[in-house]
Protein backbone atom coordinates (compact mmCIF):
# COMPACT_ATOMS: atom_id res chain seq x y z
CA UNK A 1 0.00 0.00 0.00
CA UNK A 2 2.57 2.55 1.08
CA UNK A 3 4.90 1.28 -1.61
CA UNK A 4 2.34 2.03 -4.31
CA UNK A 5 1.76 5.50 -2.85
CA UNK A 6 5.50 6.18 -2.83
CA UNK A 7 5.74 4.97 -6.42
CA UNK A 8 3.00 7.36 -7.51
CA UNK A 9 4.53 10.29 -5.61
CA UNK A 10 7.95 9.54 -7.09
CA UNK A 11 6.58 9.32 -10.62
CA UNK A 12 4.70 12.60 -10.24
CA UNK A 13 7.80 14.34 -8.87
CA UNK A 14 9.91 12.93 -11.71
CA UNK A 15 7.47 14.18 -14.35
CA UNK A 16 7.26 17.57 -12.60
CA UNK A 17 11.05 17.84 -12.60
CA UNK A 18 11.30 16.98 -16.28
CA UNK A 19 8.58 19.49 -17.18
CA UNK A 20 10.32 22.22 -15.16
CA UNK A 21 13.66 21.47 -16.83
CA UNK A 22 12.03 21.58 -20.26
CA UNK A 23 10.26 24.88 -19.55
CA UNK A 24 13.50 26.36 -18.31
CA UNK A 25 15.31 25.16 -21.41
CA UNK A 26 12.72 26.64 -23.76
CA UNK A 27 13.04 29.90 -21.83
CA UNK A 28 16.79 29.81 -22.25
CA UNK A 29 16.36 29.34 -25.99
CA UNK A 30 13.77 32.09 -26.47
CA UNK A 31 15.23 34.85 -24.31
CA UNK A 32 18.06 36.94 -25.68
CA UNK A 33 18.89 39.16 -22.71
CA UNK A 34 21.30 37.87 -20.07
CA UNK A 35 19.02 38.72 -17.15
CA UNK A 36 16.03 37.05 -18.81
CA UNK A 37 18.10 33.96 -19.52
CA UNK A 38 19.20 33.90 -15.91
CA UNK A 39 15.57 34.13 -14.84
CA UNK A 40 14.70 31.14 -17.03
CA UNK A 41 17.72 29.16 -15.89
CA UNK A 42 16.94 29.68 -12.21
CA UNK A 43 13.86 27.50 -12.69
CA UNK A 44 16.03 24.53 -13.63
CA UNK A 45 18.82 24.94 -11.10
CA UNK A 46 16.36 25.44 -8.23
CA UNK A 47 12.96 23.70 -8.36
CA UNK A 48 13.69 21.45 -11.34
CA UNK A 49 16.61 19.57 -9.89
CA UNK A 50 14.98 19.54 -6.44
CA UNK A 51 11.91 17.77 -7.84
CA UNK A 52 14.13 15.36 -9.75
CA UNK A 53 16.13 14.49 -6.63
CA UNK A 54 13.00 14.29 -4.46
CA UNK A 55 11.61 11.56 -6.71
CA UNK A 56 14.15 9.25 -5.02
CA UNK A 57 11.47 8.44 -2.41
CA UNK A 58 10.17 5.82 -4.86
CA UNK A 59 13.40 3.82 -4.66
CA UNK A 60 12.87 3.07 -0.92
CA UNK A 61 16.64 2.78 -0.53
CA UNK A 62 17.95 4.53 2.59
CA UNK A 63 21.37 5.29 1.11
CA UNK A 64 20.01 6.81 -2.09
CA UNK A 65 17.43 8.90 -0.22
CA UNK A 66 20.10 10.17 2.18
CA UNK A 67 22.26 11.34 -0.67
CA UNK A 68 19.24 12.84 -2.41
CA UNK A 69 18.40 14.86 0.71
CA UNK A 70 22.03 15.96 0.86
CA UNK A 71 21.83 17.05 -2.76
CA UNK A 72 18.55 18.90 -2.17
CA UNK A 73 19.98 20.76 0.83
CA UNK A 74 23.04 21.67 -1.15
CA UNK A 75 20.98 22.87 -4.11
CA UNK A 76 18.76 25.01 -1.87
CA UNK A 77 21.89 26.62 -0.46
CA UNK A 78 23.91 27.14 -3.63
CA UNK A 79 21.49 27.76 -6.49
CA UNK A 80 20.41 31.27 -5.39
CA UNK A 81 24.01 32.14 -4.55
CA UNK A 82 25.20 31.13 -8.01
CA UNK A 83 22.38 33.03 -9.68
CA UNK A 84 23.17 36.10 -7.62
CA UNK A 85 26.85 35.88 -8.51
CA UNK A 86 26.05 35.71 -12.22
CA UNK A 87 23.59 38.62 -12.02
CA UNK A 88 26.12 40.69 -10.09
CA UNK A 89 28.78 39.97 -12.67
CA UNK A 90 26.37 40.99 -15.43
CA UNK A 91 25.50 44.19 -13.61
CA UNK A 92 28.92 45.59 -12.84
CA UNK A 93 31.49 44.10 -15.05
CA UNK A 94 34.08 46.42 -16.55
CA UNK A 95 33.39 45.83 -20.24
CA UNK A 96 29.62 45.90 -20.11
CA UNK A 97 28.23 45.78 -23.67
Amino acid sequence: MISVALDIIGALLLILGLVLLTISFVGLLRMHDTYSQLHAQGLATGPGVIALLASSVATEDAGIITFAVLGIAFTVLTSPAAGHAIARAAHNRPDRP
Partner: protein
Protein backbone atom coordinates in the same frame (compact mmCIF):
# COMPACT_ATOMS: atom_id res chain seq x y z
CA UNK B 1 8.33 3.66 -11.48
CA UNK B 2 11.01 1.17 -12.48
CA UNK B 3 11.99 1.10 -16.11
CA UNK B 4 8.69 2.13 -17.64
CA UNK B 5 9.16 5.75 -16.61
CA UNK B 6 12.89 5.94 -15.96
CA UNK B 7 14.13 4.99 -19.41
CA UNK B 8 12.03 7.58 -21.32
CA UNK B 9 13.03 10.15 -18.68
CA UNK B 10 16.70 9.31 -19.25
CA UNK B 11 16.26 9.60 -23.01
CA UNK B 12 14.54 12.96 -22.63
CA UNK B 13 17.26 14.27 -20.32
CA UNK B 14 19.91 13.14 -22.80
CA UNK B 15 18.14 15.02 -25.59
CA UNK B 16 18.02 18.12 -23.38
CA UNK B 17 21.74 17.66 -22.72
CA UNK B 18 22.53 17.60 -26.45
CA UNK B 19 20.39 20.68 -27.05
CA UNK B 20 22.08 22.38 -24.11
CA UNK B 21 25.42 21.76 -25.76
CA UNK B 22 24.12 23.48 -28.89
CA UNK B 23 22.95 26.46 -26.79
CA UNK B 24 26.41 26.59 -25.24
CA UNK B 25 27.98 26.69 -28.69
CA UNK B 26 25.79 29.43 -30.12
CA UNK B 27 25.89 31.72 -27.09
CA UNK B 28 27.02 35.22 -27.99
CA UNK B 29 28.24 36.36 -24.62
CA UNK B 30 30.54 34.93 -21.94
CA UNK B 31 27.80 35.28 -19.31
CA UNK B 32 25.36 33.34 -21.47
CA UNK B 33 27.97 30.63 -21.76
CA UNK B 34 28.28 30.52 -17.96
CA UNK B 35 24.50 30.27 -17.64
CA UNK B 36 24.29 27.46 -20.21
CA UNK B 37 27.14 25.60 -18.50
CA UNK B 38 25.34 25.83 -15.15
CA UNK B 39 22.22 24.38 -16.77
CA UNK B 40 24.29 21.59 -18.33
CA UNK B 41 25.72 20.68 -14.92
CA UNK B 42 22.18 20.49 -13.53
CA UNK B 43 21.14 18.22 -16.40
CA UNK B 44 24.10 15.91 -15.76
CA UNK B 45 23.14 15.80 -12.07
CA UNK B 46 19.66 14.72 -13.15
CA UNK B 47 21.04 12.03 -15.45
CA UNK B 48 23.23 10.66 -12.65
CA UNK B 49 20.29 10.64 -10.23
CA UNK B 50 18.09 8.78 -12.70
CA UNK B 51 20.86 6.25 -13.37
CA UNK B 52 21.14 5.73 -9.64
CA UNK B 53 17.39 5.05 -9.38
CA UNK B 54 17.46 2.74 -12.38
CA UNK B 55 20.31 0.54 -11.20
CA UNK B 56 19.75 0.80 -7.46
CA UNK B 57 23.36 1.86 -6.93
CA UNK B 58 24.25 4.77 -4.72
CA UNK B 59 27.68 5.44 -6.24
CA UNK B 60 26.14 7.56 -8.98
CA UNK B 61 24.76 9.87 -6.33
CA UNK B 62 28.25 10.45 -4.92
CA UNK B 63 29.22 11.74 -8.35
CA UNK B 64 26.04 13.85 -8.54
CA UNK B 65 26.66 15.60 -5.20
CA UNK B 66 30.33 16.15 -6.05
CA UNK B 67 29.32 17.60 -9.42
CA UNK B 68 26.87 19.96 -7.71
CA UNK B 69 29.68 21.20 -5.45
CA UNK B 70 32.10 21.63 -8.34
CA UNK B 71 29.60 23.37 -10.59
CA UNK B 72 28.71 25.89 -7.84
CA UNK B 73 32.36 26.71 -7.20
CA UNK B 74 33.09 26.96 -10.92
CA UNK B 75 30.13 29.25 -11.57
CA UNK B 76 30.94 31.60 -8.72
CA UNK B 77 34.63 31.68 -9.66
CA UNK B 78 33.87 32.44 -13.32
CA UNK B 79 31.37 35.15 -12.37
CA UNK B 80 33.80 36.80 -9.95
CA UNK B 81 36.55 36.60 -12.53
CA UNK B 82 34.38 38.29 -15.11
CA UNK B 83 33.24 40.92 -12.64
CA UNK B 84 36.63 42.09 -11.44
CA UNK B 85 38.78 41.36 -14.46
CA UNK B 86 41.15 39.12 -12.50
CA UNK B 87 40.99 36.17 -10.15
CA UNK B 88 42.57 37.79 -7.10
CA UNK B 89 41.36 41.35 -7.15
Amino acid sequence: MRTLLLVPALIWLTLLLVAGGLVLLRARDVLQRIIALDLLAVLVIGVLALLSYLRGERYYFDAAVALALLSFVATVAAARYLESGGPFE
